[in-house]
């Protein structure tokens, strides 16, 4: 087989009809380009939306849930064992929000192989005092470094810096909604009181904005020691343990195990945010459907053009066959044209996809809900570029295969005699 000879023939065919060749290649270009843009943009958005909730949510959240005891004393009384028992008006027992034996528990969890990191929080119901106004709020006492490292808390600080909180024991990262309501700004002092009555003046070292108004109107962050002091508790007082896992998908099973093992309430991320997974997968599905449709349309375009080309080239096919080219040679000539169109169109498509992605990536996109996002999110994943070019090759090969099969079967005698 002399591929170079056959390729030079198909090259001449393509170059002498530049317009048609370009149109066929552009079909592929737009198909692949759109696929890459859609996947990059869609996945960028998915990542952004997931990040909005998932990145900030611990994979497993351990705390003491206030709930009535499942076993009441009467259940333990043997004589009534087989009787139907009614207890009216069950109320939960007063229990502490404090996690019992928290420090050894944290030490134990940190050592587990499946854990990336463990953070502790002290949640304190409190009031923000500003002038004559009192606002309800939740203060979370945090380990600043770990929150930054594991849950990217720094990405939600719109003013000031998270490091200032670490350095300033009496600092606070105030919810942006609270600051707005109380007309407070960076550097101001805010009075905070907890239900224990402790009053503290805290310096606003940063403004926190999650993008969800309900959160921003109540949530603020302080150092864990400050939260403990506000509640009048010692430094082993911890209300929440947040665990980040290496494999998020194992969260439900591990959460169930921990609940039994530690006697605490354990909430896993999937239960907490089921709707986000669904949204992401549906968006991905839609973008695949649209891109594949585009590529199929491009494939039909190539099929059409090659079919027409073969009708126009009947004479050439007859001559090639009469002068000693086999049917297979003729088939390769036409299929190589389809593949050349596919490669050229596909590579242009990759470039177009990348170019437009860069443009989108640099376009302004500002919204109050997403404070740290300034431009549209775009993902550049080599995977999509590879899938794109492979699909371009497959679809153009198929589009060229059937017409070239026809060219292979053309009987030169029919053509030569028919004229």
């Amino acid at each position: 087989m002399q591929f170079r000879l056959l390729l030079s023939i198909s090259k001449t065919h393509l170059l002498t009809r530049k317009k048609q060749s370009i149109i066929a290649a552009l079909g592929v270009t737009f198909g692949i380009g759109t696929y890459i843009i859609m996947m990059g943009f869609m996945n960028g958005l998915n990542g952004l939306l997931d990040g909005l909730i998932l990145n900030r949510t611990p994979h497993i959240h351990l705390y003491n849930e206030i709930e009535p005891s499942i076993k009441q004393p009467i259940d333990l009384y043997r004589p009534y064992k087989n009787k139907t028992r009614f207890v009216h008006s069950i109320k939960p027992k007063k229990i502490q929000a404090k996690i019992h034996n928290a420090l050894p528990l944290i030490a134990y969890l940190s050592k587990q192989k499946y854990v990336i990191g463990v953070t502790t929080q002290v949640k304190a119901q409190s009031f923000y005092l500003g002038g004559s106004t009192q606002l309800n709020g939740v203060l979370s006492g945090i380990d600043v470094e770990k929150e930054k490292e594991l849950y990217s808390l720094d990405q939600y600080i719109v003013e000031g810096s998270i490091l200032d909180l670490k350095q300033n024991e009496k600092g606070i990262l105030l919810g942006a909604g609270v600051a707005k309501k109380l007309s407070m700004k960076l550097g101001d002092y805010i009075q905070v009181t907890s239900k224990s009555g402790e009053l503290q003046a805290l310096k606003i070292v940063g403004l926190y904005q999650s993008g969800m108004a309900d959160v921003d109107n109540v949530q603020s962050y302080v150092n864990i020691k400050m939260a403990q002091r506000l509640l009048g508790e010692s430094n082993d007082y911890i209300t929440d343990i947040n665990i980040k896992l290496k494999d998020m998908t194992k969260a439900p099973a591990l959460a169930k195990k921990m609940e039994e093992q530690f006697g605490l309430k354990a909430v896993d991320i999937q239960t907490a945010n089921a709707q986000f997974e669904t949204g992401s997968s549906i968006r991905t599905m839609i973008s695949y459907a649209v891109s594949i449709t585009l590529l199929i349309v491009a494939g039909f375009g190539i099929y059409n053009i090659l079919n027409m080309l073969i009708y126009e080239k009947m004479n050439d096919i007859a001559i090639l066959k009469a002068t000693g080219f086999s049917g297979r040679d003729v088939r390769y000539i036409f299929i190589s044209q389809a593949i050349i169109i596919g490669i050229v169109g596909g590579i242009l498509g990759l470039l177009m996809g990348y170019g437009v992605s860069v443009i989108i990536d640099n376009s302004k996109f500002e919204t109050a809900a997403l404070p740290t996002i300034k431009t549209f999110p775009v993902v550049y994943d080599a995977k999509y570029y590879i899938i794109g070019i492979v699909f371009a090759m497959i679809s153009t090969f198929l589009a060229g295969y059937f017409p070239s099969k026809k060219a292979e079967k053309i009987d030169p005698v029919d053509i030569i005699r028919g004229q």
Binding site: Q2, L5, I9, T12, H13, T16, N315, D316, A318, I319, L320, K321, A322, T323, G324, F325, S326, G327, R328, D329, D411, P412, V413, I416, R417, Q419
Partner: protein, 223 residues
């Protein structure tokens, strides 16, 4: 005298549109250096016979030998190779690849055969074109030259692989008398000087009379 082409009891039946026996038991042979013409009325089967002899039509019964090699029943790849190496074609309507240059058209069958380097092939092709007096047209696109020139290019292409036989289906049917004479003289020269065999189907009495032998056909038989 060496026998170049031999047909034994060749018959062919057309089934479409209705069953007609177009060739009936045809046997003949052609020697080296012989210039033979086939004549007969339209529909007598002379072109059909030519395409069977050319190996392009394989739907027949009987035996065909080319260069003492049995051709009948060979695979299409083998037949393609035989056509490439041993048979040169000249058709009524020139049949050049319109988008290629004259030189490329002549070189194509030799490139397919791939026995020589591209430089040698190009040299050969230029030599053939010079032989036919059209070497000045070599780099023109083949759709841009005149009908008589096209036919000479087709002859050059037929000669490029040094075939053992040249077949023509009314090679002068589309040419004026001046160009017809040029083509005839070329054929005659090839037969006498290069000892090539030629088999030409024609309607033209004058042309046929000047060949070595005329095979007359009527109703699918040689008469």
């Amino acid at each position: 005298m060496k026998t170049i082409l031999e047909a034994k009891n060749i018959s062919k039946v057309f089934k479409i549109p209705e069953e007609i026996q177009i060739l009936k038991d045809i046997s003949f042979s052609i020697n080296q250096g012989e210039f033979v013409s086939i004549m007969g009325k339209s529909g007598c089967g002379k072109s059909t016979l030519l395409y069977i002899l050319s190996t392009m039509d394989t739907d027949y019964t009987g035996e065909l030998y080319l260069d003492n090699q049995l051709v009948s029943g060979q695979k299409s790849d083998v037949l393609s190779h035989i056509r490439n190496q041993k048979i040169g074609f000249v058709f009524q309507f020139h049949y050049l690849l319109a988008e290629f240059t004259v030189l490329e058209n002549v070189m194509l069958p030799a490139k397919k055969l791939a026995l020589k380097s591209n430089e040698e092939i190009e040299h050969d092709a230029m030599e053939k074109l010079r032989l036919l007096g059209i070497d000045d047209q070599a780099l023109k696109i083949s759709s841009r030259i005149s009908g008589g020139q096209k036919q000479r290019v087709a002859i050059a292409r037929a000669l490029i692989n040094h075939p053992t036989i040249i077949m023509g289906d009314e090679p002068t049917g589309n040419l004026d008398s001046k160009n017809t004479n040029i083509v005839f003289d070329i054929f005659r020269e090839l037969a006498t000087e290069q000892n090539l065999s030629l088999l030409v189907v024609t309607h033209d009495d004058d042309f046929a009379k000047r060949t070595d032998r005329i095979i007359m056909m009527e109703d699918g038989r040689i008469v």
